[in-house]
Amino acid sequence: MHLNFNFLGRFTQDLLQGAWLTLVISFFALILSFALGLCVALMRSSKSRVLQAMGRIWVEFLRNTPFLVQLYFFYFGLPELGIKTDPVVTSIIALGINGSAPNCEVIRAGLLAVKTGYYESAYALGYSSFQTFRYIVLPISLRIAFKPLTSNCINLVLTSSVAFSITVNDLMGVSKTIAAQTAKPFEVYIFIMLAYCVFTFIISFVSKAIDRKISIRL
């Protein structure tokens, strides 16, 4: 068995375009998943029973159904109700919603880890409850949640590869085409696996550097 990866050189442009699309999808999905995750975490920590229940249903539903089915639901199911979006936007929305569940869980754990002493000392300094949350509690909990958030982020980037199944030409989509064209699927997929590994190593390298700066031990 001798492997030759040289032929991939001809597809540099395609691969770069695919990689760029993967980055774009991941980036926007990441922002969406964080914003939604934060909202749902706040719902779950609120005093209202109704909000708590809604937040819980949101998370449980997303965690207990496959992402692929969620993606198909958005791409094939929603148009039946008249909601139609193009594949890339659909992937971003589906990934963002899917990623909000694990993000909610780690942010919520971060919120719970903030000790009552911080609330009390903030009140004692004259902060209102909103100010306490905004300037004290939230920054502390996000720092605690930072590490698990980055591992959720890596997960999201990897999951984004499924988007090819609704015709998105991301890194995985492009590689599928190349594999078919060249009849060298082994080399192509090995190369793509390594490419994703490079992505995730960069993310974890950067996030570790950031974590060292901002981490606090309670």
Partner: protein, 220 residues
């Protein structure tokens, strides 16, 4: 009225049931094999010999840091071309999912063993136990408590991931959804039904994991 809209027959119900069986079967076989791989690799990762503990990383890291779907395509489409061994989609699915589960399980195993304080080892040794006896009588039971809830969560995750096998043509639950969808042209309802089936299988398990985690939680 509703039946007319849905266009599903009793035959389709059986078809869905069979497909559910396929999904569960694939998942069950691969998490079993994956667990065995994970236990072995996890223990190796905890070896005091630096080289031995590093070797499993060659297997673990690429699998944890690349998409499962790429791994599946590599085994199903790629492996036959270079090795000449043609795998049916069933075998390819089980091989890939097992190896993938194994990689994640070894990390859980490694971290659970590492989480047991060294003082527990020393207390056992000081009472006259051998290292093996400490491991079996004191470390393993504590590791199990940490590991089991996390393992169930991993298994649930692998059940969701088993839906990817539909992309190499295996008729699992998700593929059955595709097929029924094409026939009935009622995607909204079909995918809602898919949600329901996956949820009904997965939700009780995730609750079990949560209960176990609360029940056996202990601090040192």
């Amino acid at each position: 009225m509703f039946e007319k809209y849905l266009k599903l027959t009793a035959y389709d119900a059986v078809f869905l049931l069979e497909a559910t069986g396929t999904s569960l079967w694939i998942t069950l076989v691969s998490i079993s094999i994956g667990t065995v791989i994970g236990v072995v690799m996890g223990i190796l990762r905890n070896s005091r010999n630096k080289l031995v503990s590093a070797i499993p990383l060659i297997y673990i890291e690429p699998l944890r840091n690349s998409p499962l779907i790429t791994q599946l395509f590599l085994v199903y489409y790629g492996l036959p071309v270079v090795s000449g061994i043609v795998l049916d989609s069933n075998t390819a699915a089980i091989i890939t999912l097992s190896l993938n589960t194994g990689a994640f399980f070894s990390v859980l195993m490694h971290n659970s063993i590492k989480a047991i304080p060294g003082a527990q080892w020393e207390a056992g040794l000081a009472l006259g136990h051998s290292r093996l006896s400490v491991f079996i009588n004191f470390i393993v039971p504590q590791v199990m408590r940490l590991l089991v809830p996390q393992a169930i969560t991993l298994y649930i995750n692998q059940l969701q991931c088993s839906s990817f096998v539909s992309l190499i043509g295996l008729i699992d639950l998700t593929k059955a959804g595709n097929i029924l969808n094409l026939r009935t042209m009622r995607p909204f309802l079909i995918w809602t039904i898919m949600f329901a089936i996956y949820f009904i299988i997965s939700y009780p398990l995730s609750q079990l994991a949560k209960k176990l985690e609360q029940k056996v939680a202990f601090s040192y």
